[in-house]
């Protein structure tokens, strides 16, 4: 009879700290869970008492990977609260910058975190010797997406040009043309990425669940819209709590969420499942090549869905820049708004899935209450449900293989468990 004891503290190549705990005695599963030992907390404490103008800048510091996502969701909430109507140009620039961050996050996750699992490497460093072209491709795309964010946001990691009502800085037409030319060139890198990831032996595993994402009638949704689920539900963003139903669980500092079932999934795969038909035709072709035909129920394929979204974002960025250039890009003052006692919810579908920011403002525009629900927390219950189904299917395999598959499953969700401190750890020679 199988006896396994897998205890992975701090899964490598996952942002922040999380642990896999598996205890199997004589074929009987005693413990099987992914626990979070540290999670973003005190969100409310950071923003309470702060003026509306500071919130997007504070929240963009929560995470170095989703800085644009947090800033955009924050502005969505504040702008809804203050009755802001963004100009068409500002709306296009927000979308373009968001695409930049989706590409930025997905290229890092797929190439530097997921690919090593398939290519027999413990990390990206040994890949430099065996798959140098792939490592360089990822760096090239990462530089492109970083530059795309930087020309719009004024600075890459934590954008400073985003402000309530629009932007404090407008990219020049020449900058836009240059970045567009590089996006066109990046098509070759996207094609190569689709070929590479289509060739990987994805683990065979299926578990049907509910997929939750934003949806818009006129485009593949990343910013605003309505909240939809693959079980046929639809809610205005304001009613997000009807979807999230947060609850505390004893072994995790992250709150778990559930809707129509015990758990639901958010992220690239959820978006692809719900909004596949709105993907750019090239991205739909990529999805077909990667074997992604909705509804896709293999959670490992979340990483493949990220490849599809990169293709989409490259194509849609090229289109948006065309639109900006044909309209003519002009410096614009932020749209007018009225500061009053009010509350609102903003939502974006950031790289890891749907994100909610909910603010209450007093009459001076000071935030008095806030709530933030991040994608990783929403995926926790689903990830644990996956583990409980996967483990019995692989119990007969060697312990190292079991551990590796469970780690791969965790990484497929691309969890951002904690936006951690970035202390150096140094010994001197």
């Amino acid at each position: 009879m199988t006896t396994l004891n897998v205890n992975v503290h701090h899964v490598t190549r996952v942002e922040g700290h999380g642990s896999i705990v598996v205890d199997v005695k004589n074929g009987e599963i005693k413990e099987c869970r992914f626990e979070v030992v540290e999670a973003p907390r005190f969100f409310e404490a950071f923003v309470r008492g702060r003026p509306y103008s500071e919130l997007s800048h504070i929240t963009s510091r929560i995470c170095g990977i989703c800085a644009v996502g947090h800033a955009t969701a924050s502005l969505e909430a504040t702008e809804k609260a203050m009755g802001v109507q963004l100009t068409e140009q500002a709306t296009l620039l927000r979308k373009l910058m968001f695409h930049g961050e989706i590409i930025d996050s997905h290229i890092l996750h797929t190439y530097y975190l997921v690919a090593p699992d398939f290519l027999g490497a413990g990390s990206v460093i040994p890949l430099i010797e065996t798959h140098r072209d792939a490592v360089l491709l990822a760096l090239r795309v990462k530089k492109l997406s970083g530059d795309l964010c930087a020309i719009i946001g004024g600075r890459h990691t934590h954008p400073c040009a985003l402000t309530v009502g629009g932007f404090t800085h407008t990219p020049g037409e020449r900058e836009l043309r240059e970045i567009q030319a590089r996006l066109v060139d990046a098509r070759a890198d996207m094609d190569a990425s689709v070929d590479l990831f289509a060739s990987l032996p994805w683990p065979e595993f299926e578990r049907e669940t509910e997929y939750v994402s934003l949806h818009k009638d006129d485009e593949y949704a990343f910013i605003g819209g309505t909240v939809v689920t693959s079980d046929g539900f639809s809610y205005p963003i304001e009613d997000y709590k009807q979807v999230t139903n947060e609850e505390c669980v004893p072994f995790s500092t992250a709150k778990w969420t559930h809707h129509n079932r015990d758990a639901y999934m958010v992220g690239a795969l959820a978006r692809l499942n719900n909004n596949h038909d709105q993907l750019h035709p090239r991205a739909q072709a990529a999805a077909a090549k990667l074997g992604l035909r909705p509804i896709v129920t293999n959670p490992f394929l979340n990483s493949a869905a990220q490849v599809v979204e990169m293709v989409h974002c490259v194509e849609d960025s090229i289109r948006i820049i065309d639109e900006l250039l044909s309209r003519g890009v002009q410096p614009e003052a932020p749209a007018p708004f009225k500061v009053e006692a009010t509350e609102a919810v903003g939502s974006c579908d950031v790289p890891r899935g749907i994100l909610f920011h909910h603010y209450v403002y007093d009459e001076d525009g000071i935030c008095t209450r806030a709530n933030c629900i991040i994608p990783t927390n929403q995926n926790m219950a689903n990830l644990n449900a996956d583990m409980k189904v996967l483990l019995p299917q692989i119990l007969d395999r060697p312990q190292d293989e079991v551990r590796h598959l469970l780690e791969m499953l965790v990484r497929a969700y691309d969890p951002c468990i904690s936006c951690s401190a970035h202390c150096l750890k140094v010994e001197f020679v």
Binding site: F46, G64, I65, L108, S123, H422, C423, L424, K425, F428
Partner: protein, 152 residues
């Protein structure tokens, strides 16, 4: 932008003493810098640090670090004086720090600028925007040391 010398502050200002780097950048900017010197808040730039390093001839990095000192004490060192604690198999790249970025740059044989690092031992890096008393008290000394390094 002048490409000669940049002071880059790294860290998360929402994580207590981890915010030393960005704080120093804000302070240097407030005080003013000599011509040819840029102060850049790198935040939690991760792999984008590689991109940033490419842009300068000389870089001074300010970061919180476990440098074997008491909280608030700092060490000035160059990358070749340090043995970074990363290993090949546990490298966490998703939100990489300086050591991982330098390891990647070396493995890729990318040219790097001359780098000097000021690592300040943190006291508390839990969520919060306040520095621990020891770090708070040491900030002016750190800023002076960086100004000396700039050559003022």
């Amino acid at each position: 932008m002048n490409k000669r010398l940049a002071v880059i502050g790294l860290g998360n200002p929402l994580r207590g003493d981890d915010g030393v780097g960005p704080w120093v950048i804000a302070e240097l900017t407030r005080q003013g810098l000599p011509p040819g010197v840029t102060a850049y808040d790198g935040g939690t730039a991760g792999l984008d640090l590689l991109r940033l390093l490419d842009s300068w001839e000389q870089v001074i990095i300010v970061d919180a670090g476990r440098v074997g000192q008491e909280p608030g004490q700092f060490v000035r060192f160059t990358p070749d004086q340090a043995r970074w604690s990363e290993t090949r198999d546990t490298l966490s790249l998703h939100n990489m720090g300086l050591s991982e970025v330098l390891a990647l740059a070396r493995a890729l044989e990318r040219p790097l600028p001359a780098i000097v690092i000021f690592g300040m031992q943190p006291g508390d890096t839990d969520w919060g925007e306040r520095f621990s008393p020891a770090v708070q008290a040491a900030l002016p000394t750190l800023v002076r040391a960086i100004r000396e390094e700039i050559g003022e």
